[in-house]
Every structure is written in C-alpha cells, then in structure tokens.
C-alpha cells in the first residue's frame, strides 16, 4: 500500500470521526504508531509518517516527538525526505528548541549542494526559523550564494539575507557589496530588498524603465507592470527621501509621472497610487505634488470599493496633522462614513473626525458625533466618549453647551466613560455659577428617569445635595422648572440608596447628598435623620462609617452642622483633593473624634488608626505642671478634675521607645469603681498598654492606680509623642468619662 495513500487514508479516517472524542482517539492511535515507527532504525516510510504528524500538528495536537525525526530526515540524501524534513523543521522547531542547533550542520551542507532545489530548501528554512547563532554561522555561505549566477538562488539568498540582518543587525555590512551588484541586474524579483543611499539613482532609473515600458508580459497583474515591485520601490524612495532634500527633488518628477499615468480602476493600480501618495506625503515634496496627492486620496474616498475608502482614511489620518486644511475639504464625506455599516470603516472615520474637530465646526461635528455615539458598536464607545470629551473641553463655545454635551454623553454611554469624568464634570458645574439652577433641574429630571448610569447618578446626587434649595424653589430662567416637594427629592435619593444597581461609590454620594439637604430643607429633617441612622448599621463599611459620622453631626455637633454642610467653594482643578470628588469629607475630618483603643488587655502592637499626625496637636492645650518626684525623674500632672488626678511619669528606654507610667488618684469623697484608661497615639507610633494595677480608686487618695504604657516610634518621625487618654469611671452610681491630650513629655530624659 502506498504510504502517500496512507497519509490520505489517515486524513479520511480522521474526517470521518463524528465526535471530538472519536477524533482524539484516532489521532492518539496514529501518533502511537508513528512513534513506534520512528523508533525503528531504518524505515522507508519515514517521510510519510512525518507528513502525517504534521497534519496532526496543524489540527492542534502535540507533535514534539517528531523533532528528532525532522533532524534525521534533513540529513537524508533523498530529496523527498529532505523536503518533508525541512517542512517539519519549519513547523515544529524554533530557535528556542535545542534540536534546531542540530540542523545547522545539515543546512550548511545543503547550502553547497549541487541541486538548486536542495539549496533553496535550506535557504527557506533558515529564513523562517534561523536563530541568531545559526545566522552568524551561516552568513558567509549566504554571502557566497548571493554572488552565484543562478537567479533563482540569488533571490532566495537575498531574502534570507534580509532575515539574517533582521536577527543580527551587525551582519548587514557583510551583505552590502553583494546587494549593490544585485540591483544592477534586471531580474525584478531581486529588487525586493533593502539597501542604502547610493543606489537611489539606479532605482529611479529602474522605476522609469518600468513605467515607460508599459505592458510587460512577464510580470503582469491585471495590466499594471509588476505592481509589487513598483510598490516596493516607492516605499524605498520614501525611506530614502524622508529627511533628504536632494533625494526628494530628484524623485518629484517621477512621482508626478506615476501619479498621473497609473490607472486606478483596478486594485493593483490603486495600490501603486496609494504608495505614491504615501511617499509624496513623507518626503519633502513640493506643494503642487502634495495637492495632487490629497486630491487622489479624496477621489479614493468617494470610491465604491470599501477597501479603497478604508486605506484612504488611514492615509488621511497620517497627513491630517500637517495638511489640516486640505483634509477639511473632505470632512463631509468622512462624517458620512461614520454611518457606514462596516466596523473597520467606522473606526477609521471616528479617528479622523475627532482629528478634524476645530473651533469653527465644533457644533455641527458634535451633533454628528453624538448621533454616532448612540448607535456605534460597543468596542468604539469608550474611544468615542473620550474623544468627545476632549474635543468639548478644547472648543466648547459656551459653558452651557459644554455641560449639555457631557450630560448627553453620560446618558447615552455612561458605562463607558472614564472615572475622572465625574470630578471633572463637578468641577465644571461649580465654575458655571449662573447655571446651577439649570443644571440641577436637568440632572434631577435625568435622575428620576434612569438610575442605571453610575457616573450620571453620581453627578446628579452631588448636584441635588449641593443645590437642592434651588431645585425646591421651583423657578428657573433657562429651563422649564420642575415642581417638586422635599419628599420627592428625598424619595429620589432614597431610591438610589436602596437600588441594587447603585455601586457603593454611588450610594456614598447619595447618602452625603441626603445629609447636605438637611441644612437646605426645612420640613423633613427628621426623615433625613432616620435615613442616616438606618445606615449606621449597614454592612458596607464605608457607608456605615459615613452614617455614624453624620449621626454624630446630628447629635453631638449639631451646632456645627450648618457650617460643615454649607455650599462648597469653587474647586481648583489642580488641587489634590479634587480627584476625590467627595464634598464634605474634607471638612468633616477635622471634627471627627479620634478613635480610641481599648487598653485593658495586653494588646498587640497595632498602631491606632484615624488619628492624624500633625492636625490635632495644634489644637491640644497643655495644662502641664512640672513637678519632681522622689525618684529624680520628673512627673507631670496631666489631669485634675472632679477629684481625679492623673500623673504621668516617663522613663526613656531606647532610641525609639518610651515607657510611661500613669498614676491615678482620687481626692474626692466618693469611691470610684470601674476605673479604666484608654490611650491613642498617632499613626507613626506604636502603643502597648500593660495591665493596670486595679480598677478601684478609693476616696480621699488612700490608694492609687498605676498603668504602664510603652510607646514605640520606629521611624523616629519628629519624635512626636502625642498621646490621648480617655478615662472612664463610675462614681456615686453614674458614669463619667473624660478625654485629655498630652503632646509633650517632660524632662530631658524623654527626648
């Protein structure tokens, strides 16, 4: 049975497998058979086995066990086996495999083979998967072949040389003299290589020859004489003439000739024209030529063939920077291409349209772009939204227009905009102070229609919180006002809070907005209070924290509430807090009571959170009295009130650590029980409280309580030893609590 038929037999069997599992089974059996046959020493059907293996590899099954077989086959004297071996090498081996080194010697031998086809096989494989070492070893051979008389081999050697130069750029010089001689040959195929400046006059010569010869029967593709060569030469001219004035001058005539003579009704002709245009644009050509080029591109734009339209837009993209006005003339066509059903054309049209937006045409362009945004494919939405924002920012004719545009984008494509949009928009709104009323009305309407677009909802909540009074007043110059009651507004905000479409950030916005309204509305403050207290037990930690703080604002700090929640000033765009976008957060931080830590048990070395380093030390007041006790190191009385005296005694322990002993005594007439001390330190300091000696303070100072506190500042940051103490005790049946701050410790020993 013929082995070649066996290959086809195997293919037939694989194709007849009805399920994936069956196919896998067949292939596994075949692979096993192939592996067994490879292990046999000499086998006539080796090449066919490898061919089968390559088919299996193409289908995606592992075939690495064939690598050594490739090496063996390449070394075989038979052409058919060499052929399959080289094919296998190209498909299975690559520069990372060790086996590829083994074939270097075989390739070397084959490069000197008498048959040109064997040589060509070797060249082909080297060009496909030659590693840097292989290239270095075999470069002299390639050079020799470049000078060979056989044009077939020369062509292949030339391409192989290109690959080598790509892999190992230093070897480029080795090949230059050979390349020079190649160019003077007439064979077109060889000109498909790179080279240096001196060959330019030769090239121009060849090009002229090609153009003027007209119909050349050998290399004819649909009536244009060898378009591939023309294209290559044009590209070469482009590289040469890019920064070179002299070269560009010489090329001008030629390019003009090519541009006018080439027939663009066929694809091949269009290809040549397209390359010509690109070359004209790249080199320093004269203006007449550039105008010609742009006109050609304009003609392409109106072509029915979509391919041509696509590439013309690609090239217009490249020249819109330099020749802006010329491209503007075709703006209408480009904008029409936005509506083309082809996604690739749409993408190009979008990029080009965004580049063409200018102060003059902003309004009309924006209309088109917004229309496009509502119907564009999803992968282009983000890019379109971003481009629209940039354009709007640069060329907005008025603030109201700008705000309108951004709102429109948010309603249509809110999910695809970037995160900075929200704070940017908020900043924009605050600056447009006369438009606050208009903005808040518009946003309220958008909010009650749809709460799924997170960015829009966030901005709307912020605005309603900030300008809620304007909304409730019910009058507006610029837009039909909405007649709402306070309940409606609170309902809207509560819907946002409770909806599961809202992200945690959005809910944060809504909660803060609700809180802000408490100073702007008169009747429903209780409702706000209840909303806020409900969220005090919310699972989301961020919301819970906010709610608790707002609750505190209602209870303890009610006198500050109006001041804290008043209208925000205009945000400066460059300030660092700007990116936060949150309003009252900054103001609230100051009045936040520091979070205290339980000091009873021996705790781990967790630094206390929340307390800011520098801030609170400024408003601490010192009621320090120095007194020296018997031990010689100073003691400080830090607290004296209601009969409770707290003394602080510090010893220095190490470079970064400090030990402090707190002594409490009771000079009142009543006993104090459940006396506890809690301490808090700045973030940079670590706190460790030892167990107190007790918790009962008898009256009239008969006994004292002591507790040792270890402070550690590993960073030695300014040696800030600020310490907050909170004491709580029960006396006469009622609970007492007090807080004090100590921010400098006495005695030279402590510093």
């Amino acid at each position: 049975m013929s082995p070649s038929v066996r290959l086809q037999e195997m293919i037939r069997v694989i194709r007849s497998a009805r399920t994936q599992g069956e196919e896998r089974g067949v292939i596994q059996r075949e692979c096993a058979a192939i592996r067994a046959q490879f292990r046999q020493a000499d086998n006539g059907g080796r090449s066919h086995n490898l061919a089968k293996l390559l088919y299996v590899h193409m289908l995606g099954y592992p075939a690495h066990f064939g690598q050594m077989e490739c090496v063996r086959l390449i070394a075989s004297p038979r052409y058919s086996e060499k052929r399959v071996g080289y094919l296998g090498a190209m498909m299975l081996l690559d520069e990372k495999q060790d086996a590829s080194l083994l074939i270097t010697n075989s390739i070397k031998n084959d490069l000197s083979h008498s048959s040109q086809y064997v040589q060509s096989l070797a060249l082909c494989t080297l060009a496909c998967m030659g590693s840097a070492e292989m290239c270095r070893d075999l470069a002299p051979e390639i050079d020799r072949l470049l000078r060979a008389s056989n044009s077939y081999i020369k062509k292949k050697a030339a391409l192989c040389a290109v690959h080598i130069v790509r892999k190992v750029p230093e070897l480029g010089e080795l090949f230059t003299p050979a390349a020079r001689s190649l160019l003077s040959e007439k064979n077109h195929g060889q000109c498909v290589t790179r080279d240096t400046h001196t060959y330019m006059p030769d090239l121009v010569q060849i090009m002229k020859g090609l153009v003027t010869t007209g119909y050349s029967p050998e290399h004819n593709v649909a009536g244009i004489s060898d378009p591939f060569l023309q294209v290559r030469i044009l590209r070469l001219l482009r590289i040469l003439g890019r920064n070179n004035d002299a070269a560009s001058d010489a090329m001008n005539d030629l390019l003009a000739q090519v541009a006018t003579n080439t027939d663009s009704s066929k694809t091949a002709g269009s290809a040549v024209l397209y390359e010509t245009v690109l070359t004209v644009m790249d080199i320093k050509s004269e203006s007449g030529l550039r105008v010609l080029a742009v006109n050609i591109l304009g003609r392409f734009l109106l072509n029915n063939d979509r391919n041509i339209r696509y590439i013309s837009m690609t090239s217009l993209q490249k020249i819109v920077v330099t020749d802006h006005n010329a491209v503007q003339r075709h703006r209408g066509t480009i904008v029409d291409c936005l509506k083309d059903p082809d996604a690739s054309v749409k993408r190009r049209a979008l990029e080009l349209s965004l580049a063409l937006v200018s102060a003059v045409n902003i309004r009309s362009m924006m209309k088109e772009l917004l229309l496009f945004l509502s119907s564009c494919p999803p992968e282009l939405k983000a890019q379109a939204a971003c481009g629209i924002f940039n354009a709007a920012e640069r060329y907005a004719p008025s603030q109201r227009w700008h705000i309108d545009t951004i709102l429109h984008v948010l309603t249509t494509a809110g999910g695809d905009v970037r995160d900075e949009t929200v704070p940017n928009l908020i900043q924009l709104i605050t600056t447009a102070s006369d438009l606050h009323c208009y903005t808040v009305h518009k946003l309220y309407r958008a909010l009650i229609t749809d709460i799924s677009q997170q960015s829009l909802v966030q901005v709307a909540c912020w605005c309603i919180g900030e300008y809620g009074d304007l909304l409730l007043r019910g009058e507006c110059d610029e837009i039909e006002p909405v007649q709402v009651s306070e309940d409606d507004v609170l309902d809207a905000l509560e819907t946002v809070l409770q909806s599961h479409m809202s992200s945690p950030a959005t809910r944060g916005f809504a909660l803060t907005a609700t809180m802000k309204l408490s100073t702007r509305i008169t009747d429903n403050v209780d409702r706000i209070r209840s909303i806020v207290s409900i969220y005090g037990s919310c699972i989301d930690v961020e919301l819970q924290q906010r709610a608790v703080e707002y609750n505190a604002l209602f209870k303890k700090y009610d006198h500050m509430r109006a001041a804290v929640l008043e209208r925000m000033p205009v945000i400066d765009k460059s300030s660092p807090d700007h990116s936060n976008g949150e309003s009252g957060g900054g103001a609230l931080k100051e009045v936040e009571p520091p979070k205290l830590k339980q000091g009873e048990a021996v705790t781990a070395q967790e630094p206390a959170n929340q307390v800011h380093d520098g801030d609170n030390s400024q408003d601490g007041h010192n009621t320090l009295m120095y007194s020296c006790d018997n031990l010689g190191s100073p003691t400080l009385t830090v607290y004296e009130k209601n009969g409770v005296t707290l003394k602080l005694h510090c010893h220095k322990q190490s470079e970064t650590g400090l030990t402090v002993t707190l002594t409490a005594s009771n000079s009142s007439d009543w006993d104090m029980s459940s006396f506890t001390l809690q301490a808090a330190v700045p973030k940079s300091v670590q706190l460790h409280m030892k167990a107190p000696s007790g918790d009962f303070l008898p009256a009239r100072g008969t006994a004292t309580l002591t507790q040792t506190v270890l402070l550690n500042n590993p960073n030695k940051v300014g040696l800030q030893w600020a310490l907050w103490i909170r004491m709580s005790y029960t006396s006469q049946g009622s609970a007492f609590q007090d807080t004090m701050q100590i921010d400098s410790f006495p005695g030279p020993a402590c510093h």
């Binding site: 049975m1 070649s4 995606g60 086809y117 496909c128 195929g189 498909v192 591939f228 091949a268 590439i311």
Partner: protein
C-alpha cells in the same frame, strides 16, 4: 513583514497554518480560533481589512482576508506591508493553487497539505514576499515535484523488495 498565513473553512477548521514568528503551540491554536471569530463576524460587502486580534500583536498588525466559497484566506501582516498589495498576493496565491490542482477545492487542500506548503514556500519566504509571478512559481514547483518523483523511481529500482510507493 507577514506574520502568519492561515486558511480555514467556514466552521473554523484550519486547512493551512503557517507562522513566520514563533508562538507556542497553544498560542497558535488560540490565534487560529480568535482570527476565525473576528473574520467570520464580517459581512459580505465590508472591506477586507481588520485590526489584528490581541494574541497576534493587537492594533499594530492587520488581518487582510479574502473569502472564497467555503474558505477564508487570512494574512496577518504588520504595518510595513501595503494592504492592497497583500490583497493582490492572496489573489495570486489562489490562482496558483487553481493552476496546480486543476480547479482547486477544499478537499484538495485537505488531502495535499504538503503540496500547498511547497507552493506557499515559493511565494513567501521568512515572512517576505519572494515571487509574485504565477508562471514562475508554477515552473519551480513542477521542477521540484519532478525531481522528487524521479528520485523515488531510482530508489525503487534499488530496493526491489520494499513495496512500490507510487
């Protein structure tokens, strides 16, 4: 430079896959699948150019494809190649196959993958266009096939015990 040449049918089964840059086997299969997804979504009357998929270089590379009856011919190229030129190259490739196989159809490609590879090797080498003249290509391919056949006959005479191969 041409990064890859893929031929697959309307259901995504690969009929020829030639990569001119190294990818692991898994990546190669993924590229084939991804390319099939991108190309099969295209309408009939849209342009033949696509941005490359993520695996094969993203937006630097372009997919230039042509759809003939049941087969997609896809060339993945980088920005140094002319798109229209490659489109023509695909046309030349298909015409050459037609000449070599006498009215080529998908089955020919399936059962003679190695021959298709040999033809392709005469046209594109190392990712670069080698020869574009159809007749020239066919001449070379015929000469090589003749050489292979003559060799087999010679060896056949020597090893009279082994089964005949043709």
């Amino acid at each position: 430079m041409i990064k890859a040449i893929l031929i697959f049918n309307n259901h995504g089964k690969p009929r020829l896959s030639k990569f001119y840059e190294h990818y692991s086997e898994d990546t190669e299969q993924q590229i084939i699948r991804e390319t099939f997804h991108l190309v099969s979504k295209r309408d009939e009357n849209v342009c033949n150019f696509l941005e490359g998929g993520m695996l094969i270089g993203g937006s630097d590379n372009k997919l230039i494809y042509r759809h003939y009856a049941t087969l997609y011919f896809v060339f993945c190229v980088d920005s140094s190649e002319s798109e229209l030129g490659i489109l023509d190259l695909i046309q030349v490739f298909v015409e050459t196959l037609d000449k070599c196989f006498e009215n080529v159809c998908e089955l020919d490609l399936i059962f003679h993958v190695d021959k298709v590879h040999n033809i392709l090797a005469e046209m594109v080498m190392g990712g670069m266009v080698l020869e574009t003249n159809m007749n020239e290509i066919i001449t070379q391919v015929d000469a090589q096939n003749k050489m292979e056949k003559s060799e087999v006959r010679i060896f056949d005479h020597e090893n009279s015990q082994s089964p005949s191969y043709i």
